[in-house]
């Protein structure tokens, strides 16, 4: 899922003008699950705005990244002067695209695509590079999980299973090595991985997916 974290409350306050009607718009999908922008968080933020003297309401729609859900909330959206969107960056942009006349601010910082590792802990897993090869690396993506995206083994900064740049981060290559060793597949690592074709990633420009078979 997409992981995001709430912006500092004072930064959110700084977007707002005294006296205006504010709508805090939560999103019911990824950011609900990672507990940063769902119904509960939207309500909390609107409560805080209330306590600070704003006329604030909150509402949460199922998926802010999809136009039709935004359009369903049209009435609330048009009623407000300013909207704080508690969706990921996709949601904020969808909302703004369909309500171009509204003042809209992001209430979250979208951080990564990842998984909940344990209660209260999320970890990045995918970069969306457009060319998945995790099966070559014991299902541990080195593009995402190695700080240098190394494809041919660990750098010299791996110590006791941790990455040198942040001691609480696992060295992806230690994980890859351990997993392949356990599966008796270390020979996979002897092959030299050639330079990647990054054109499928963000570096090839904004990406689009077109499916002629499902287009109307």
């Amino acid at each position: 899922m997409i992981i995001a974290e709430r912006k500092p409350i004072k930064e959110i306050f700084s977007f707002l003008v005294p006296g205006e009607k504010v709508l805090v718009l939560g999103c019911g999908t990824c950011v609900t699950v990672c507990m940063s922008g769902g119904e509960k968080e939207a309500r909390e933020l609107s409560s805080l705005l209330h306590l600070k003297g704003w006329e604030a309401e909150d509402s949460t729609i199922e998926r802010q990244c999809e136009p039709e859900f935004n359009l369903k909330a049209k009435e609330e959206i048009t009623h407000a002067d300013t909207i704080i969107s508690l969706a990921c960056g996709v949601g904020v942009q969808t909302l703004a695209e369909y309500f171009p006349e509204k003042k809209i601010f992001p209430g979250l910082n979208t951080t990564f695509m990842g998984m909940p590792k344990e209660q209260g802990l999320w970890e990045e897993r995918c970069w969306g590079c457009g060319n998945c090869t995790v099966h070559l690396f014991g299902y541990i993506c080195p593009v995402t999980r190695c700080a240098k995206s190394l494809l041919n083994g660990p750098c010299g900064g791996s110590k006791s299973g941790k990455c040198e740049i942040k001691p609480d981060r696992d060295c992806a290559w230690q994980l890859i090595y351990d997993r392949l060793k356990k599966e008796n597949k270390l020979e996979v690592l002897y092959a030299i991985q050639p330079p990647r074709d990054w054109s499928t990633s963000h570096y090839g420009g904004q990406r689009k997916m077109i499916r002629e078979d499902v287009r109307l």
Binding site: I9, F13, R43, E44, S47, L48, L51, K52
Partner: protein
């Protein structure tokens, strides 16, 4: 200073009543309510109460002997979370939680002093 106090049926409410029997309470106005267990308290409820009061005082069973096991623990975590949000937003209202047994009010006194202290 207007304070709302919520106590659980088993421990908190009886203790709050006993505390209320004291002649001098440290607040101008205190409203006391009973609820079955502090586990029922939600962040939303806390915020709603704070709209019309300066502080919320929760009183419930001790963490390790909550009648409903995790009620007090849950309320404690929510209290912490709401307080940190209030603090981050520079709002001087707050929530406090006292873990009590029905007969003892000392903990409530301590926590209410904390509320006053933080008010300053």
């Amino acid at each position: 200073m207007k304070v709302v106090a919520l106590g659980c049926d088993k421990s908190g409410y009886p203790a709050l009543l006993r505390w209320g029997e004291k002649e001098l309470l440290p607040f101008e106005e205190v409203e006391v309510f009973s609820i079955p267990c502090l586990g029922l308290v939600t962040e939303e409820m806390i915020f709603q109460i704070l709209e019309n009061s300066d502080a919320l005082l929760l009183a419930g069973c001790p963490l390790d002997s909550c009648h409903n096991q995790k009620g007090s623990r849950g309320a404690y975590l929510k209290t912490k979370r709401v307080n940190s949000l209030l603090q981050e937003a520079d709002i001087s209202k707050k929530v406090a939680i006292a873990f009590v047994t029905s007969g003892k009010v000392g903990e409530i006194e301590k926590v209410s002093e904390e509320l006053i202290w933080r008010e300053k």
